[in-house]
Symmetry: C2
Subunit: 443 residues, 2 copies
């Protein structure tokens, strides 16, 4: 149930004291054509298992650059991970250059040839001869099979170090790392075979208020317990660890449960689940349907749910109503409300939530309106003002919120605030209690 | 009108032969808590101005790591850009460490102090004393004012090289780079004062077919002209450059216009505009409103427009219809269509487009349905099948498309295909011609 995250943002050493370096290869990264998702994925995965990645270097596809950088990284690191440059075309030079640097010959591997041929047969495509380049491997390398593409990964142990070479496409690299590389590294003691920290997520409490609430629990464990906070978009994650090893993993889980009891409904979850996933699980468990309606968040609220597999089971749909006509025609918002109160108002937001629930046959509905852009806003409701409305079988309410920062930040916090309100309402519905904190600002 | 991009993916040298390195600082990048958008932004901006960024290194906030990496980068590079670590807290060490490495003392700058105080006054917040740390600068550094935050940037020329230190938040870093750093670098001849390549974007033609279509134009210029293609999500960008300097910028623009004449409506635009932006401009020019309805793309089609400033002028709204009930109640899809043909069908997609236009009072509508997930699909319509429908004042039509690859790729191509269809229809409406390529698969 409980899963953790390490952090060294507060200056503590990571649990596994080995130097990891990541080399991401490709001109497309340096020209900004592709975002470096390899760094965020691998950095997070290593971090959860007690390793702080020490350095990520992105270089061009040029052979000299690869040779120079790899030589330097191999000299100082314990583990080097590379991504990219393993494909069939002429700018895929990683395999050749690194084999040479390590003093290994390339040998043809018939097992890899067979796997590539089988993949082409399965896809009903004809294999061009340059694909066979991918069947060569450094002589003392182990092949990491690639069930999702043609370029296999490579695993090399040499000079008391480990080199892992992974293909560039994230859909191939990510499962290969989780399924094949993590167990091998754990077996060698180069990362933990479980997560390194116990994490729980909270909402509705600021970082310092959270610390104050939980301080008496933390104090019971003195130096044995280390606590780190990470705030993001109205949520704060709390991570518990035992740097000196004086508390076991299950003792950390017990402490997290003590914190949960103090936090009540401010606890979102143990582990890494998103707020949308938690709301989705509550809706599924109660067999209730949700509908959403939004203006200023422009589809982000709907997308928070449609990103979840099997969303059809609990999500009826969403409306992005930009024009007033669409609010009236799609969601039955009375024209007089728009005339009297405007689109960014408690009244309209409540009408949109009600309309969404009724017009999509849903049990619950959320609506979000606001001034999030670079312009708009009034003296009464300046830029950053957001209205959220919640429709439930028990009634419909609205809240007025105000967030600082650029547009994307305001949108993210508004979506999170809406989801959190629904989460609390669903908890009360499940437990048969009445929610104490509804702010009713409109009829 | 015309704006260009350089590329060295095809092995050509960049126009500006100077070595640029980017140092991105921060544990949050290495722990995967934040995506490295600095690399994609700065890499693309430099690329457009004739520079291929040679290396990006991400390191921890630790003083030793910063000193070691900066020393190495400063030795080999002509221009070093750093991001992050300039803030007021104790883990912001970049300024101190780099000043020391360069042998410069830190001096207190009263102008910076005043700017920080004014910003706090403007925001109505109280300034804590640690903010004054940001008023220290290396003695021979110039300050780059930060209108969007407290940490100013720094510009240092020393040892025949340039060091640019930028704050970490993208909303502060990006305008500072474009408004203050680019003109300074151009003045020193370290990047071009205009874009380096002439680019045009195309849709509906594959990379090799595009080359064949345009070959006779390219052939007229022999070695003087260099051509590079970049394919993404059903679009292909074409970039023209004159590596030996035998063609002027305006001659390259003339060649791009020759290509445009051959391409007809397959030309999307000159420069870097997105397909959604082009469609938005056409709708605005004709004073027409658009509505959208979608299932499998889960809000991405609506979000393509709501990301554009002033979308209310041309975008009525969108529906994300997951449940059949929402399709019937919101968009008047006849129940018998869903029973007979299913939700992923030409018939339902046409009904959704029609309903969207009528229920939101729009002139045009797009609808997208499909099997994009990890499951679903039928023998007739396997995974990757997408239906797009276009409603216009002249009628309503649908297309069946099929894309390989993971969910996000299928969704992106489906959205792009829908936008491109509307773009062509709007061109024909503007020119008073009839569109030749509508594929009508349903009544």
């Amino acid at each position: 149930m409980v899963s953790p995250l390490p952090t060294t943002n507060d200056g503590r050493v990571p649990v596994i004291n080995k130097r990891y370096e990541l080399l991401t290869l490709g001109d497309e990264l340096l020209l900004g054509l592709t975002t470096n998702t390899h760094l965020s994925f691998l950095g997070a995965q290593l971090g959860r298992r007690g390793v702080l990645l020490q350095r990520n270097v992105t270089i061009t596809d040029e052979a000299d650059a690869i040779a120079k950088q790899f030589t330097e990284s191999w000299r100082t690191a314990d583990v080097v991970i590379t991504t990219g440059g393993l494909g069939p075309t002429c700018d895929d030079r990683t395999r050749e250059v690194i084999a040479q640097t390590l003093g290994q010959k390339l040998v043809f591997d018939p097992t890899v040839e067979k796997a590539i041929e089988e993949l082409f047969t399965r896809l009903g495509r004809k294999m061009t001869p340059n694909n066979l380049k991918q069947a060569y491997r450094p002589e003392r390398a182990e092949v990491l099979p690639n069930p999702n593409g043609t370029a296999p990964g490579l695993w090399i142990q040499q000079d008391g170090k480990v080199l892992v070479m992974l293909p560039g496409p994230p859909t191939e690299m990510q499962p290969m790392f989780l399924d094949q590389v993590v167990p091998r590294l754990a077996k060698l003691g180069l990362l933990l075979d479980r997560e390194a920290y116990v994490q729980f997520r909270t909402a509705g409490v600021g970082e310092s208020a959270l610390e104050t609430k939980l301080q008496s629990i933390f104090d019971q464990h003195g130096d044995a317990l280390s606590v780190a906070f990470c705030a993001h978009q109205g949520q704060v994650d709390c991570r518990l660890s035992a740097p000196a090893g004086k508390l076991s993993y299950s003792q950390l889980e017990d402490i997290a449960r003590d914190c949960a009891r103090v936090l009540g409904e401010d606890l979102v979850c143990f582990g890494h689940d998103s707020m949308a996933k938690i709301v989705a699980d509550l809706l599924r468990a109660e067999e209730k349907m949700l509908a959403v309606a939004e203006t200023a968040t422009g589809g982000l609220l709907a997308h928070a749910f449609t990103d979840i597999a099997g969303a059809g089971k609990f999500f009826a749909g969403g409306c992005v109503c930009y024009s007033n006509e669409s609010k009236v025609l799609l969601l039955d918002v009375p024209e007089c409300i728009l005339e009297q109160h405007g689109a960014v108002s408690a009244e309209n937001t409540v009408a949109m939530a009600t309309g969404a629930a009724e017009r999509m046959g849903a049990d619950y509905a959320l609506a979000v309106t606001g001034f999030t852009g670079c312009c708009g806003g009034t003296a009464e409701n300046p830029l950053g003002t957001v209205f959220v409305a919640l429709y439930s079988p028990l009634g419909v309410w609205s809240k007025r919120l105000c967030y600082p920062g650029p547009r994307a930040a305001v949108q993210a916090r508004a979506v999170n605030a809406a989801l959190d309100w629904l989460r609390r309402e669903l908890l009360h519905a499940r437990n048969g209690t009445s929610a104490p904190m509804r702010r009713t600002e409109t009829a």
